[in-house]
């Protein structure tokens, strides 16, 4: 057998390995319902859940957010409403991410443990600073 064939086979084998591991390690975007179902079935894979912070409908205040660094700097919990409007508590064993309250959309990465969603990472989508209201605010200040 020629060397180039052997090398070719090795390359193909590695490439297949790469693809398999990518597919295997890839996570999934799911709803809270699916995440809890997975936990019930004993599936411990981490998943992505996309949602928004729970806010009071009239005042717009964020509800259910708790971070008391004096008691425990590595414990942060909040309520997340997923895209199916299902609301669940999320626990994060890290300090509260900077600018958390301002985020428009939140992606939590983790899995359900003891009926709580334990987040390993929190990805936030913050409103872009090109938003109109920013200019309105500056405009009001300018007039005063």
């Amino acid at each position: 057998m020629k060397k180039s064939y052997i090398i070719g086979i090795v390359i193909i084998a590695v490439a297949i390995g790469v693809i398999v591991s990518t597919a295997g390690d890839a996570s999934a975007y799911v709803s809270f319902k699916e995440a809890y179902e997975m936990a019930a079935e004993g599936d411990k894979d981490m998943v992505h859940v996309v949602g928004k912070l729970k806010k009071d409908t009239t005042t717009g205040k964020i509800e259910g957010l708790l971070y008391e660094p004096v008691t425990d700097p590595n414990y942060f919990t909040f309520l997340l409403v997923d895209n199916n409007k299902e609301e669940r508590p999320v626990v994060y064993y890290h300090p509260k991410p900077q600018d958390f309250e301002k985020s428009e959309q939140i992606v939590v990465v983790g899995c359900v443990k003891n009926n709580e969603f334990v987040a390993d990472q929190i990805l936030m989508k913050c409103p872009s600073k090109y938003e109109e209201k920013e200019l309105k605010a500056t405009a009001v200040n300018a007039k005063q």
Binding site: T22, D25, M46, N74, V118, Q121, A139
Partner: protein, 843 residues
Amino acid sequence: MTKFAVGDFGHLFVIISFIASLVATYAFFQSAQSKGLNNSWATFARIAFFVHGASVIGVVASLFIIIYNHHYEYHYAWSHSSNSLPVYYMISCFWEGQEGSFLLWIFWHVVLGTILISVNRTWEAPLMTVFCFVQVFLSSMIIGVVIPYLDIKIGSSPFIVLKDFMGDIPVYKLNPDYVPADGTGLNPLLQNYWMVIHPPTLFLGFATTLVPFSYCIAGLWKKKYTEWIRPALPWALFSAAVLGVGILMGGYWAYETLNFGGYWNWDPVENAVYVPWLVLVAAIHTMIIFRNSGAALKTAMILVITTFLLILYSTFLTRSGILGSSSVHSFTDLGLSGQLLIYLLVFVFLAKILLIVRWKKIPGTEAEASIYSREFWIFIGATVLCLAAFQVIATTSIPVYKAILENLNIESNIAPPVKQEEHYSNWQIWFAILIAALSGIGQYFWWKKMDKQKLWNAIAIPLLASLVVSMVILYFADLNKPSYILLVTASVFTIIANGAIFWEVVKSNYRLSGGAVAHIGIGLMLIGILFSSGYSRIISLNTSGLLYSKEFPTEMNRDNILLWRNDVEKMNDFELTYKGSRVEAKGFPGYVPKEKLLVLETDYKAIAKDDISYKDNIYFKKGDTITIYPENTFYEVLFKKGNEQFTLYPRAQVNPQMGLIASPDIKRFFDRDLYSHVSSIPSPDGERKWSKAEEYTIKIGDTLFLNDYIAVLQDVKKVSFIPGVKLTPEDAAVTANFRLLGKQEYYARPAYLILVKDKMIGQVPEIVEDLGLKITFLHIDPVEGKFTFAVNTTQKDYIILKAIEKPMINVLWLGTLLVVVGLILAITRRYSEFIKMRDKGIE
């Protein structure tokens, strides 16, 4: 009116540059198809290119004038700059916005194109055709023109007026000529010296990948299948050096400025430039194989083309908004994704078609390389580099697969891997081991013909030496994973092997030592990466009682520790004390404690409440007005370990748009870095909540119990001077002197003022930051000799801190330096080869 003219000129320049690049493409194409070097098309094409270049410089100048003169009626200036921005950061405004970064890229192509026109003869016309064609696409990205009737917008102009951008917002109805007084400012994270030089370097790296690509395409087009390698090689080396340095500068910036805890995070944006760099390095190796043995020509062509296409792909990934929430780098979608996709696909198809048409005519070698030849091992090395690139791009592209599936109406919930670092590292470490081993072995096949015996003779001593050295390292470093052990051994081997080669070569001709130096650098880099990442150790482990999280002992993350102000906290072998918050002041070498300053609302000024000294020199006297830089607050933390002690000042900014932004401070030791940042502060939003005031009426000598401290009112004295208050000779002022006793001793001197002229009384309260106490002098009862005070308490000052030790990180930076030096040596050697051949009239 003149202000608007600047933007109009700018936009005109953009349009001229676009049209000129189109004209230049056509003219260079015609010139390449004509006979003779200096045909009439060539002159015309050069003129068109210079018109293009001049107008690009015009665009840059117009945009700079707008930013420099704070013309906030333009969206670009308003959204990226502000009145207080120093001039050297105004340059950074260019690349904060996408339009500006395209402009930077276009600008580098103009510079490179000018150089190429002046150094090339026969290659000029076909080379510049490709160059100018790329410029057509790039300048279309910033042209900002709407095609009438079709209603398609092409490009996004940096000269858009704020009013047009914002549309119908109320303020323009009230005042159509409204211009904001100040801009929204440059992202504070970008206000860093690395951010002034990192983007231009990276974009120069992007731009230089076009040069070997253009030579390759020109070679295929003009049927000069083998000749293109010689001129392209020094450029490919230059590109690898610049792109590599650009990537590492980005990593270094992230290490210094962001609080991710490292220099590399496998973020899609980082991966998107790492992948083309790997392929470029592989391409260089195949080009060298071809120069030495005439083999691997087709592979070299494919890799050079792929490098450039990967740069386009990475541009598409990072600028189309497709990465969305999977990247921490925020890129706003300017609606250019379609245009970017067309740009990418046009070059993919053109290059592919050209390759297919010419494929059979490209000379190749039938005979297989012997496994005792250098070429064979270099080829294997290039293959490993490509596989490493493939692994990274396969995973980074997950959001693209999702988008494609969704465009085909297939529901997909695929997400990037959760443990990204592990996912990539588990593969990349094995590729790194192979690369390190191969770059050591490869150097021994200096002579084409080798056999088993000769190889063994040459390799035995270095191999033995590296085994001994790595054993010693393993003994001290306590490495436990097989992959780590292999990586250290392979890296040591490549350093020793290439060191020996270097010694041999440098004796005869140092110009040939580039390869050896670069490979020593790679070995050092790998060792530095392994130790600083694989063995980074969190020092700030929290061992205090935990209330909430008893249920999940395994899940616990104890990376962050709470430090009360002036309380000593033990963690690992360190003792930490948070000493208080500090700011920088103009003309002061250190940091000024905030409690010594009375910050004024206007113009970044403050009044000294006390003498402020640095190393026994008094810089400011009590009552002096000082200019401060209030954006950054520095948190002084004293680290103590045995007899050794040092202070770190991690900083944080409270930014109205972005909230709390923390940046680390790094203590650099010879063999390790100590990296530390603030994770949280009591009120990141800047508001402080005080308790309701409690009033106390006491006599001199009486005591109060405040926050576990005993406060003694020692005396009440008349004073003639209170910092921050203008006292006339008729006014009267007294201060009450409290001594607070507890774990430590503190003093508080609240003041009571009678301003005769203004017919007012006033109070200047005193805040004891360490205790979270505010004492206000409310009232004097001269008859009874009694004094009334109000006491408010607040949360005691604290910070949440994370500290990490990163061993051997300096080895990484040293290795980087050597790689660059090696590449520069190789560039000069290969470039002089090209010049020699050109001057002989061959090229």
